[in-house]
Subunit: 471 residues, 2 copies
Amino acid sequence: MEPLQTSSNRKRVLSLYAFAIFAAVGLYFVIRHFGEQLAPGVESAAAGTGQIAAHGSTLAQVLLALAVITFLARLVGGVFNRYLHQPPVIGEIVAGLMLGPSLLKIISPAAFTYLLPPEAAPFLSIIAKIGVVLFMFLVGLELDLKALKKSSHTTLAISHASIVVPFLLGSCLALLLYPLYAEGHVSFTAFSLFLAISMSVTAFPVLARILTDRGIQNTPLGMTALACAAVDDVTAWTLLAFVVGIVGAQVESAAMTLVYVVVYIAVMFFVVRPVMRKLIERVDTKSTAVTRSAISLVFVGLLLSAYVTESIGIHALFGAFLFGAFMPHEGKLAEHIRTGTADVVVVMFLPAFFAFTGMRTEVGLLDSGGAWLAFGAITLVATIGKFGGSALAGRSVGLHWRDASAIGLLMNTRGLMELIVLNLGLDLGVISPTVFAMMVLMALTTTFMASPLLDLLMGRNKPQPMPAAAG
Amino acid sequence: MEPLQTSSNRKRVLSLYAFAIFAAVGLYFVIRHFGEQLAPGVESAAAGTGQIAAHGSTLAQVLLALAVITFLARLVGGVFNRYLHQPPVIGEIVAGLMLGPSLLKIISPAAFTYLLPPEAAPFLSIIAKIGVVLFMFLVGLELDLKALKKSSHTTLAISHASIVVPFLLGSCLALLLYPLYAEGHVSFTAFSLFLAISMSVTAFPVLARILTDRGIQNTPLGMTALACAAVDDVTAWTLLAFVVGIVGAQVESAAMTLVYVVVYIAVMFFVVRPVMRKLIERVDTKSTAVTRSAISLVFVGLLLSAYVTESIGIHALFGAFLFGAFMPHEGKLAEHIRTGTADVVVVMFLPAFFAFTGMRTEVGLLDSGGAWLAFGAITLVATIGKFGGSALAGRSVGLHWRDASAIGLLMNTRGLMELIVLNLGLDLGVISPTVFAMMVLMALTTTFMASPLLDLLMGRNKPQPMPAAAG
């Protein structure tokens, strides 16, 4: 359709137009001439202005930092994917480390201060944290509840062994590391529980990605591994919430925290879940597209749930994860959020979290043979516990050695989940920066070894470049 | 498919499982017993811990604030939509005002400090700013380039009249307001240019929403109005960039700013646009889904473009808008970003911006009859300029009075765009908080009046609840 037909001819419009522009500019200068003789009406409020100007440059710093972080994450992720046949997320984590005191600050302190200035750090930190909250919500939303329900005794045996064994071995290792690396105010209980849980984490998203990449996610092996990882996720995060509660409860009453948690879970189960189910049914019966009101409600619920768990002393992450897990997974709304939100979160917010982690990871703290020995011990114990525990459990319930080992290797990937746990430990002051750096390197190593060892065990899969990254 | 079949029987697995759990708990307590006799290895670093603990509560504050903001925006937006037949965005802006010193702080200072504590303000501010940067990118991406190219002389005449007339009337009004409300350090040129531009802004998204709501977006009237608004957008933002450049150039050389801008535009046109076109062609020829690498590149470009314009002295918003406008609008990638990113931005980030604006808007500053008179004058001049200018221009190129008036009413909507301009003026210190409050109220009033007056002029449209909000 054409815009309105008018009776005018071109000339008339053009001359009107030209006249208007010239007249306008002329008129403005006349007005300005008079105006410049006027005095302003209010005294200057210089303080406000200066503060805001500083703020403007903060925006520039944050924009630049986000651009660099997003770009480097994708670049290194792509290199790891294409040339090392690794899930891109490992490269993204490495990119985060490169931007921190472990590499960039050593090579060029000036570039480091320019790209990630100290004034921008608190803002990047909050962006990273909100990003991880959103990500944990997505992890909860993708938690395969059907796999959990269908989980056989095989699955339960493997997954619990894959938590219990590294947990116990981790506690033993704490006996060795506590007198060496724990800080004075940290109790052995807190330190050992954290170390033990760090050993027990499995990165469900990385594991799922490796399976998809090999095209074996629907084989019996793949489905068992996925179910084990799902059970692991729930168990490990429950344990972690428990530990965070214990550590936080040094301040408040532990009993009250427990009461709060029970009330919270009850509200989630008996109020939030039915309401969400109604909402989702309403969205699905409507023939129209998903409304923004529905999306908005989901976000409000997610934010509130995260706020509540943060306030009662277990971390915001659990609230986000649980809201995602409790929210019905089917229907248009969940699908819409999974696809729409995931892009922004995975492409921009998660790399910010990796960079934030990288800024806190100082590999230089491992400055002695003893420290590297400790790192080696951590990695070895983590692998023996996780790989060994799962593989033995798999074998003991009757799997072939090859399948049992493959599951063990898959369960030994820790990826991003481990970084979330470690940042929590550092935030709470339970682990020192040195132990943090050791554990970050351990997470990278154990995740990195999965793909090549699977190649050895099962033969190389056709290298398919993976488009997306999460985990 | 079922998980791996195993040769085990239930009993064996269950007993193994029970044994493992009991043994594990027991073993952990043995380990703990030994560990508690150990001394930690490192002196306490209490400083770091304290800082991080404070940080954790910042996260809780930000989460709560975002939840409240998102919820109230949707609620008031829905009320305005359902009961007042207004685009939801007007209600969202009102929700933002309600959370600020204009309402909540008066009713309950305690609730205000609890929901939006001063410590959380800088973080909300940066989230709001990044949200508006993302939103302006989407506005650029939805800029109807075809409408711009097809724009007839009718369109050009109307849209330029709809800028020139309010611009000049705004400058005249500045003669009145400068001696009353300008702050001491602000030149008349800066003050008058800002006031003039604030009068000239049209909210393309609100206008488009009103048209869609009435189902007349494809009529000749609707298409003319859309084309006019698109031309207006480009003209007004160019003017504004020019003004911001002038205001900022008090510090740096104005000539250098101009050179930078020319170089920037040239790079965007001759480098970025062809590269983006190639990228988009590559994405479209692939049969697979849009890769996250492609999305990532778009984000990096957008962030860098915003960073560059912020650094050379025109605002980050222009870089985001121009990147969206220069990026090819067709193809899977643009579509994917439009749908996926828009949700998060419109549902969560934009309400944060409205709340941020609301926190800066103190209606109580209009504490005298004179101030309300000034607000009345601003609203009257804005409406006469924008509505009168467009309607007269429309009539002069041969439209019927009814159509010309309808276009005038539509062009008089300022909505969110005006808020963006005003926040910029406040940031730069060009307008005082009092003038800011007056102008925010003016923007609300002129946007609010469009729908009922269109009802009067053209008959009430069937009230259809609008699902989504933007503008």
